[in-house]
């Protein structure tokens, strides 16, 4: 069951499988004798080793609280593996094992004519929706999902798997079934909410497979433009409130589709696709007085938006305008003594999601010891095989 390659004998002794990860964190922190974080945020350092340990724990076993997220099992794996990638610790995982596990989630059409049946042949989110009892059952219970497919390809990409080995034609041809007349995407063939998150996933999938036959880019762009709000940010659907995550999905998708010029900051007024000056103004305004980023106006700062909104500014070429010192202090005030990061400074326990986006945010800031990100893909490395 153990995934990590290099396991210290010391950690082998820690608790049986029934022991909660929380307890293990505490014990681990004690065992490796890491100093408690300093109280003065000015003196805070990124506790890299502690974070690696935290993610290794997650790789080994997720506590039962994660049951309610089991349908996004590949996404949970993405956070852990990509987190280790940012921390420069991918040497600690067994890449072949990961590749075969990820590939086992792919839905395969029986014949190429299946690709016209309206279903999407991507990756399942978890085993609960995937059945391999006999071959005839597989395709009638296809629950593959755009977000899981994005996560699968992102993981494979970052561990150096050659993406040309994948049946990408099946993914791309069938993905067209998910695009709606208004340009948006639904994530799964039997229907679910349609919004910018899945436009982003579709664009990232096409980009990673280096093949844009999977979507109508012009339509997707139209949809994205309709989501820009009166204040310059983007909502998840047309008419909804500007939101840091939605704005990232919009801007990163436009970037992946090639609609944003690299030199946009030198002549923002000439941008033809988005109201860039208003977007930049809105994005910079999200840095609050405590140095952190909020996802929406008049909401508290939350670690993950340092990536979502910071990423938008990075893509647009305006990242150097934010107050890096203040942001770094905010993020490090959310560093947990158990490893990982919390959502808010007042929280005690870290979670995988906010940990991952804190690592990503610190990488954007070029924090020492962290690998650089490909910001629009949300992962570290772009390997030479797939892209």
């Amino acid at each position: 069951m153990l995934v990590c390659k290099s396991k210290s004998p010391r950690r082998e002794k820690l608790g049986g499988p029934g022991e909660s990860v929380r307890v293990r964190w505490i014990r681990c922190s004690a065992v490796v004798r890491l100093p408690p974080p300093a109280m003065d945020p000015e003196g805070l350092e990124l506790e890299r080793e502690r974070h690696v340990l935290f993610l290794e724990m997650m790789m080994e076993r997720l506590p039962s609280d994660f049951e309610t997220q089991e349908i996004n099992h590949l996404t949970l794996a993405y956070f852990a593996i990509s987190g280790l990638g940012i921390l420069g610790a991918l040497d600690r995982v067994d890449k072949d094992q990961i590749a075969s596990w990820v590939l086992s989630f792919q839905a395969q059409p029986r014949t190429m004519s299946d690709l016209d049946n309206g279903q999407f042949y991507g990756f399942h989110g978890s085993r609960t929706s995937q059945f391999t009892i006999d071959d005839s059952e597989v395709s009638s219970h296809n629950c593959s999902h755009l977000a899981s497919t994005y996560c699968a390809l992102a993981i494979l990409n970052m561990i150096g798997y050659n993406l040309s080995n994948i049946n990408s034609e099946a993914i791309l041809i069938s993905m067209r079934n998910l695009q709606q007349p208004d340009g948006s995407f639904m994530p799964i063939h039997f229907g679910a909410e349609k919004d910018l998150r899945f436009v982003y996933c579709a664009a990232a999938i096409c980009f990673m497979l280096n093949n844009w036959t999977g979507m109508d880019k012009e339509k997707a762009k139209e949809y994205i433009l309709h989501c820009q709000s009166y204040d310059g940010g983007f909502g998840l659907v047309p008419g909804s409130e500007s939101h840091g995550g939605a704005t990232y999905c919009a801007v990163a998708a436009l970037q992946l589709m090639g609609f944003i010029n690299a030199d946009i900051s030198s002549k923002p007024a000439k941008s033809v696709v988005v109201d860039v000056p208003l977007l930049v103004d809105w994005s910079l305004q999200r840095q609050a007085a405590d140095g952190g980023f909020q996802g929406r106006a008049n909401k508290p700062s939350d670690t993950c938006y340092a990536f979502w909104v910071g990423g938008v500014l990075k893509i647009l070429g305006f990242y150097h305008f934010l107050n890096k010192g203040a942001l770094r202090r905010f993020l490090l005030s959310c560093q947990s003594k158990y490893g990982g990061f919390t959502k808010f400074p007042e929280n005690m326990l870290p979670d995988l999601y906010h940990s991952y986006y804190s690592f990503a945010a610190l990488s954007l800031m070029e924090e020492e010891g962290l690998k650089p990100l490909c910001v629009e893909l949300g992962i570290t490395a772009i390997n030479d095989n797939g892209i």
């Binding site: 069951m1 995934v3 997650m58 790789m59 076993r61 997720l62 039962s64 994660f66 049951e67 309610t68 997220q69 089991e70 349908i71 996004n72 099992h73 949970l76 794996a77 593996i81 067994d94 094992q97 990961i98 596990w101 086992s104 085993r127 609960t128 929706s129 059945f131 391999t132 009892i133 219970h141 629950c143 229907g191 679910a192 909410e193 709000s229 009166y230 204040d231 998840l236 659907v237 008419g239 909804s240 409130e241 500007s242 939101h243 103004d281 910079l284 305004q285 840095q287 007085a289 140095g291 929406r296 106006a297 008049n298 909401k299 305006f318 150097h320 305008f321 934010l322 107050n323 203040a326």
Partner: protein, 332 residues
């Protein structure tokens, strides 16, 4: 809300006579799972039975009950929800009952995408007669968290697809009365005035909305939301934004109070970049602030504004410095 009691009394499926004919289908995690989850026994068993009925495509009453249990433990599992919809259709279940079921579970799962999607599916089937109930439901969720993104999305969908616009502007007013900093309510207000078929659109609403917004700004000039809303009222019409005295007037009024003037300066800067010709009074007020906050006094107005903002808005001082160096050549 007796869910925790139910959990305590839960009888495993294996001991339930009505399920004795079903062979559970265990989850096949394969030889080397990554990030394995430490499932509880109850969770695992429920999903094993779910897999069995799903594979057998058994669209029965007990299958429906099983999905209720599975959703209680695993509300994000879209496969379970999908199968539930198939069963609901096959059994021709009264969807009003289904709506009651969602009412019950939504409060403690109000940020779960699948539940909201299911709610929409039910409301869509019930049609326009469901509009009032849906608006009431979102009001109930928004009373607990006035910024719940899912509830707002659902509400906007209801208005556009099923109707019920009549009292929406009043509702926005009420929420803004409760909390004038609620940006979600400002956004909804914009949604209503631009999209309601009853109000005549942005142009027809602009004057009264500008008055409302100016009042909100003067009460709390540090509140970003009404400033953005004010600009939104002139979306696509920069000339009108520049020429409408109400806009520069509210900037002047806030600047004269001598505090919380960052948003006023920021808007004034944009007005100047669009060709606005400032009054002597406005120049004097800004230059007075410039003398207090910075060393510059001989520069043009836009430059002075940038210099003040560099000092009083430390999170964005690099940005204001860049703006200062990239002002349009004709700016005042």
């Amino acid at each position: 809300m007796s869910s925790s009691d139910d959990d305590d009394e839960r009888i495993p499926f294996i001991q339930r006579p009505e399920w004795s004919d079903v062979r559970p289908v265990p989850q096949d995690d394969g030889p080397h799972p990554i990030v394995p989850i430490a499932y509880h026994d109850d969770f695992r068993e429920t999903m094993d039975y779910f897999r069995a009925v799903y594979l057998a495509d058994e669209r029965s009453r007990r299958a429906l009950d099983l999905t209720t249990e599975a959703i209680g433990m695993n509300p994000a599992n879209y496969t379970v929800w999908h199968f539930r919809r198939l069963v609901l259709e096959a059994l021709n279940v009264d969807l009003h009952e289904e709506r009651d079921f969602i009412d019950e579970i939504a409060v403690r799962n109000s940020k779960n995408y699948q539940i909201w999607h299911h709610r929409r599916w039910v409301a869509e089937k019930l049609g326009p007669q469901a509009a009032d109930k849906e608006l009431e439901f979102t009001m109930m969720i928004l009373a607990l968290d006035a910024k719940n993104y899912h509830a707002w999305s659902h509400r906007q969908w209801v208005l556009q697809s099923l109707g019920g616009w009549e009292k929406e502007l009043d509702y926005c007013c009420k929420l803004l009365e409760d909390d004038i900093f609620n940006n979600s309510a400002w956004n909804q207000r914009y949604f209503v005035i631009t999209r309601s078929p009853l109000l005549g659109g942005l142009q027809a609403m602009r004057d009264s909305e500008v008055s409302y917004t100016v009042e909100a700004i003067l009460a709390n000039p540090q509140n970003e939301s009404p400033w953005r809303y004010l600009r939104g009222l002139y979306k696509g019409d920069t000339d009108l934004l520049v020429s409408d005295n109400q806009v520069s007037d509210v900037c002047l009024k806030v600047l004269k109070t001598n505090h919380n003037y960052i948003f006023a300066l920021s808007l004034l800067l944009d007005l100047l970049c669009y060709g606005f010709q400032p009054s002597h009074e406005l120049k004097r007020v800004v230059q007075f602030l410039g003398k207090t906050e910075t060393d510059s006094s001989d520069a043009n107005l836009a430059t002075t504004i940038c210099s003040i903002l560099e000092t009083v808005d430390p999170m964005r001082s690099n940005y204001w410095a860049w703006r200062k160096n990239n002002l349009p050549s004709q700016v005042c």
